[in-house]
């Protein structure tokens, strides 16, 4: 169960969102650029502090303003895959992958190094440095690094946005396999309908900092008012990945 209520004023923009969704599989946080998706996900990660609200994931509260709970990001165990990868440039791919893994007690690990490397087909890259990777390889390594920290939830902020279509089709199936093979819930931020149709089971629709709809993909995306808000003009016409 993902129970989230956030309020934060950032200049002229206010994030004021509340949603509760069944917290397994891929939950998509969907909205236009500038809808506040990244603000929401970085508050969930603990990189940004909401003015008020609470964040509860599977009955585990990581933030509650009223109760004075604010667990720092390193203790939340929400691994975060950033849009631009953010691999550590001074570390080899292998050291990048083990960075989070080494910081977690072996008892809490649910994925082995070899398992993740095989799942993401990055075995041939281990000795390289991030500067020598292609965009798609970088994102696969970033996903592996996040996964190997055995997170209780995986946050993904438009992990495919910087990739061209060919690279997207390269990475997308890996993300789908993640949620299928491990029970880790994924919160997936995107403004691309085709990615969401391919991956997500639940969608939260965000507009101007507010969550205006939440539910199953079919329910939310078939709502006719979406067309009026312009969500399904270009993106729906592009062919979904198969």
């Amino acid at each position: 169960m993902l129970d989230i209520c956030l309020k934060k004023k950032q200049g002229n923009f206010t994030v004021d969102t509340a949603f509760a969704v069944y917290g397994s599989g891929v939950t998509a946080l969907f909205g236009h650029s500038g809808a506040g998706k990244t603000s929401v996900i970085s508050m969930i990660a603990g990189l940004d502090r909401p003015d008020t609200g609470h964040i509860t994931v599977n009955d585990h509260c990581v933030f509650d303003r009223e109760k004075g709970i604010d667990i720092p990001p390193e203790k939340r165990r929400f691994a975060y895959v950033f849009q631009e990868g953010r691999l550590f440039p001074h570390l080899s791919v292998r050291s990048n992958l083990t960075y989070g893994m080494k910081r977690i007690h072996p008892r809490d690990r649910y994925i082995e190094f070899d398992q993740a490397v095989e799942l993401l087909s990055i075995g041939h890259l281990l000795k390289r440095y991030p500067a020598n990777l292609s965009g798609g390889e970088k994102q696969r390594v970033a996903i592996g690094r996040a996964l190997l920290s055995s997170p209780v939830m995986l946050l993904m902020d438009e992990p495919l946005a910087s990739l061209d279509t060919a690279r997207k089709t390269e990475v997308l199936p890996f993300i789908a396999r993640l949620s299928a093979e491990f029970a880790v819930p994924i919160l997936y931020v995107s403004h691309a309908v085709d990615e969401i149709l391919y991956l997500a089971s639940t969608v939260i629709l965000l507009s101007q900092g507010k969550s205006i709809a939440a539910g199953s993909v079919e329910e939310v995306l078939s709502q006719s008012d979406l067309r009026y808000t312009g969500f399904c003009t270009d993106t729906c016409s592009t062919r979904p990945y198969s």
Binding site: P72, K75, Y80, R86, F88, H90, A131, L155
Partner: protein
Amino acid sequence: MEIFTLTSAEWAALRLSLWISGWAVIGSLVPGVLLAALLARKQFPGKSLVDGVVHLPLVLPPVVTGYMLLLLMGRRGMVGGPLYELTGFSFAFNWKGAALASAIMAFPLLVRAVRLSIESVDQGLEQAARTLGANPADVFFTITLPLIFPGILTGIILAFARSLSEFGATITFVSNIPGETRTLPLALYTLTQVPDGEAGAMRLCIISVIVAFMALVTSEVLARRMERRMKG
């Protein structure tokens, strides 16, 4: 080649210079990096004052810095007096004082170089490390510090070269004592004040140029090598 043979006094000045500059850099490294991190990342009241004080030796006449050191850290100085009485340790008229004077003169260069490199670190990488389970201290040592290493290296070499060339503050604070505080520039100055010192002065002049040049080249080469490694 008599003219290129160093006298024992000249050797002593060279050795002393390297020794004093080495200690000046070693002593200022940790405070310099911490202060640079503070200035680059934190907002606090009095920040511009701290920044100003650090940079003061860069713009003050070195003699003024030396004189202030004498007043503060001399054996009867405001800090130096109690320090001597409590611990028996003194900076007055010995090589430690020369190292202190060099360190203070070189400090702004060290802090500037490190600060610039900290400001150029992508804080997104540090955030990524936090979400992977690293606490702020862990992030500093495993992400920030390795990333700013080229900047620290540049700072070290600049500070070392500046220490080697230190003259005004040293001669004012700890005087010109052979074998104790007479560093290369002081020895050179002394030689220019005696009738037949030209040959010696020329030798020390050449050595100064060579040492300074070597420091710059080394820093350049190391920085390039580091950069290449970072970029793969």
